[in-house]
Subunit: 166 residues, 2 copies
Amino acid sequence: MTEKLKPAGVALADKWFWDVLNSYLEKQTLKQTRQRKVVVEEFLSLDRHVDAEDLHGIVRKRDPKVGLATVYRTLNLLKEAGLADQKSFRDGRSVFEIHRPDHHHDHLVCLDCGKIMEFENDEIENLQEKVAEGLGFKLTGHRLDLYGHCLRRDCKITDRDDRGRP
Amino acid sequence: MTEKLKPAGVALADKWFWDVLNSYLEKQTLKQTRQRKVVVEEFLSLDRHVDAEDLHGIVRKRDPKVGLATVYRTLNLLKEAGLADQKSFRDGRSVFEIHRPDHHHDHLVCLDCGKIMEFENDEIENLQEKVAEGLGFKLTGHRLDLYGHCLRRDCKITDRDDRGRP
DNA sequence: CTTTGTGCAAACCCTTTGCAAGCAG
DNA sequence: CTGCTTGCAAAGGGTTTGCACAAAG
């Protein structure tokens, strides 16, 4: 494989992702492999919260020989490259999502159907800064998950996603 | 053991806790045992975030025969009775804390020394309600953890507590 | 060719559970 | 006495790791 991962025909919107990934691989003298390509492509095209097992299932449809360990290793690679975030809404199981540098957000999780929505609220962010400052902390990050019940007609259908718990 | 757990000499401030626990045990036809007494006493007197292993270590100083499984079982009992909350700031490890019905709070975790502080901010809570409402959710709970660096002189001493990660 | 990556299975870590023996009620 | 509890060890569930082989550079 002499060409860059995911060379032509990439959705323009995802170009930055492959660029960052490829230069990360190069810088670290890591190799570009068929398995990594498939895992990353699927992860990227899903563009939602997935756990390793789900992603593995999806990847296997294209390449049945890919092992679960490789999926984990690739997701950890993406984390190291700053391209993916790992969260755990439900205890004992992690979900991964694309890390878009310009798009910070928090999560709102429906306790019935498991749907995960994203939101951003500057007022809350500012208040967090104030609170931390008031307690003598230099704030570097936070995690805010809201839990509740959504009002979708198709809620309760339990659409195979992550269920949250405070 | 014919008397209630932790009968006389209890700090007045903790009375409600034992009252709730004892009536829960009675209602569920559960038994009051030496092990439960020790685990609960130590948990209560620590009055901070502990994981099962830490608590087990502490309990063993008083009663070396108590098993780790019993500590887990007792902590889960307290959860069921609504007397303890389980959190996981660091992935893959839970910490427990006393649940005080009248005292909601969020957490501020120092990434250097692991210190966990608590805070409450009504403005943030109100904004959360608004956000959820705006997205068509009925909010039932939330989790807000702030991560940063504290300015204590004795920070970095790594005082065997939980280290947080967003 | 040298070095990294992969698949598999075993190891890990925290937590829960099955079981025979111990006790509270 | 009855049946909840306990300790131990083994099982579980998600994630990581060791190893020999495969393959990228």
